[in-house]
């Protein structure tokens, strides 16, 4: 065994010098230090908002716990009113936009995605999707921190390191496949929800689809953490990249919207309610 000066913090733990599969990826001890530093920073930063919340939000937490316990014995609850409280004063506008998006999907997006589907095999399309998801790590990681979830922040950070190196610039999701470390889908809309913001008025945006006041603010805020906001400078390229991302994403989800629509009696209400339930659950997680 060769003796050498070793600066990596993990040397003490690592025993024999047997070669391993992961080995070839990195030759820089700085990485190991950076990783440790980031982890400890994550733990400390993550705990700060949690400690701050302990005082101010305790009554809110209690109220939440109370509401949950009251819901439980749901015997014969179909006799009571359990109807949504979605605020939808914009319904005429929203319904018009829903029809617009529906046509946009069936007349433009779907035909394009189907051709694209024929040209590129699924693994390649999946790897493009992974690449874009990896680029959005800052959005998820920052929101994990803002929500006081140090473990989720560490997960996102670890996933970024693993996927950018082992996954080759994020095209492969090595963290999921090799280590079963799954993505933490956090965004600013959810963060606002965690701090008690209600959804507000429901909005169906043209092109962007279902949203509400809270999630629209969140979407705009998250936009500043999207690498596409900084680069490239030319808006034509940015639009091109975004368009490609949408087509690629759609090609992997062909048929999903169709099956929702087929199962629905009023597709507009089905999507509106589905969106609200989905977001409520995401915030609770």
């Amino acid at each position: 065994m060769l003796k050498r000066v070793n600066k990596s913090p993990f040397t003490a733990v690592a025993g024999s010098e047997k070669p391993s599969v992961i080995a070839c990826m990195n030759r820089n001890p700085a990485l190991a230090w950076m990783f440790l530093w980031c982890l400890s920073a994550a733990l400390m930063l993550g705990f700060l908002p949690r400690m701050a919340m302990a005082g101010s939000l305790s009554s809110y937490d209690l109220a939440l716990a109370d509401a949950q316990s009251k819901q439980e014995p749901e015997e014969d609850y179909y006799e009571d009113e359990m109807i949504e409280d979605v605020s939808d004063p914009l319904e005429p506008f929203n319904r018009a936009m829903f029809v617009f998006n529906d046509k946009l999907y069936f007349w433009v997006l779907k035909p394009v995605a189907r051709v694209y589907n024929e040209i590129l095999p699924e693994p390649l399309r999946l790897s493009f999707k992974n690449f874009f998801l990896n680029l959005l790590t800052p959005v998820r990681a920052v929101n994990c921190l803002l929500q006081g979830k140090p473990d989720a922040f560490a997960t996102e950070l670890g996933r970024f390191v693993i996927n950018t190196t082992m996954g080759v610039y994020g095209f492969g999701d090595a963290a999921s496949v090799c280590f079963d470390i799954r993505r933490k889908d956090e965004d600013l809309g959810q963060t606002l929800g965690v701090y008690g913001a209600g959804p507000g008025v429901y909005i169906c945006w043209p092109v962007f689809g279902p949203s509400n006041i809270r999630d629209t603010i969140g979407m705009v805020g998250d936009g500043f953490l999207n690498p596409l906001y900084f680069w490239p400078q030319e808006s034509a390229y940015r639009i091109g990249i975004s368009g490609f991302k949408v087509v690629n994403g759609t090609s992997l989800e062909l048929g999903e919207y169709e099956s929702i629509k087929k199962a629905a009696i009023d597709p507009y209400v089905a999507v509106r309610d589905g969106y609200q339930q989905y977001r409520k659950n995401k915030i609770k997680e």
Binding site: N26, D173, N281
Partner: protein, 205 residues
């Protein structure tokens, strides 16, 4: 040289994994899981049987899946819960007709879903029982390696358990239909809802 950094990598991955696994739940097995698993396994066996994929077997395949679902799903309970406060005011004939139609719609929706089965993995993660109500938590890993969380809600009738709601990624099927039906009934009428239900079931055949 390379071995050392391989280990660094492995250690850091382990650390992240440990951190992230603090909050994941252990694998469970219990009464409710057995019930849901039995039905799911039966359906998977039918849809992945190559013999059943032949065109001339299509009708038989549908019938077998339908039987398997009917055993475990409580269409009555589902129909009541989706009409909610509009249930009590209906006549017996209306109730009967609604349960039959809605059952058909749900059956077809479920059938469409399982017929598209292409080797997704089903993990049974947890079950909870609270009196005569219970929940089974299931994780589905798609062929695109996407994980989807599904909750089956069951109710005990006699000595057996029956599914009355499925929620996928936090979206409860029954809540979703309840809001659609309420919107239609309050804006027009129960008759209008029945007409729209009928045309949907007819179209989807």
């Amino acid at each position: 040289m390379t071995a050392r950094y391989g280990r660094v990598f492995f250690m850091s991955a382990c650390l992240v994994f440990l951190l992230s696994s603090f909050f994941s739940s252990p694998v469970w097995a219990g009464e409710l899981i057995d019930k849901v698993k039995e039905t799911t396994d039966k359906i998977i066996a039918i849809v992945s049987n190559p013999e059943m994929k032949k065109a001339e077997k299509a009708a038989e395949r549908k019938r077998l899946i339908r039987e398997a679902i009917d055993e475990r799903f409580d269409w009555d309970e589902m129909a009541k819960r989706t009409l909610a406060r509009h249930w009590a005011g209906r006549s017996d004939a209306e109730k009967k007709e609604f349960v039959a139609l809605f059952g058909k719609l749900l059956e077809r929706t479920y059938l469409d879903k399982v017929e598209g089965y292409s080797g997704e993995k089903v993990n049974y993660e947890d079950e909870t029982i609270d009196g005569q109500y219970g929940t089974v938590k299931v994780g589905i890993i798609t062929t695109q390696d996407k994980s989807i969380s599904v909750f089956y809600r069951l109710k005990k009738i006699g000595s057996d358990w029956f599914v009355y709601d499925i929620s996928i990624e936090g979206v409860s099927l029954i809540n979703n239909y309840r809001n659609q039906f309420n919107s239609i009934i309050t804006k027009s009428s129960f008759q209008n809802l029945m007409e729209r239900l009928k045309s949907n079931v007819e179209e989807g055949k």
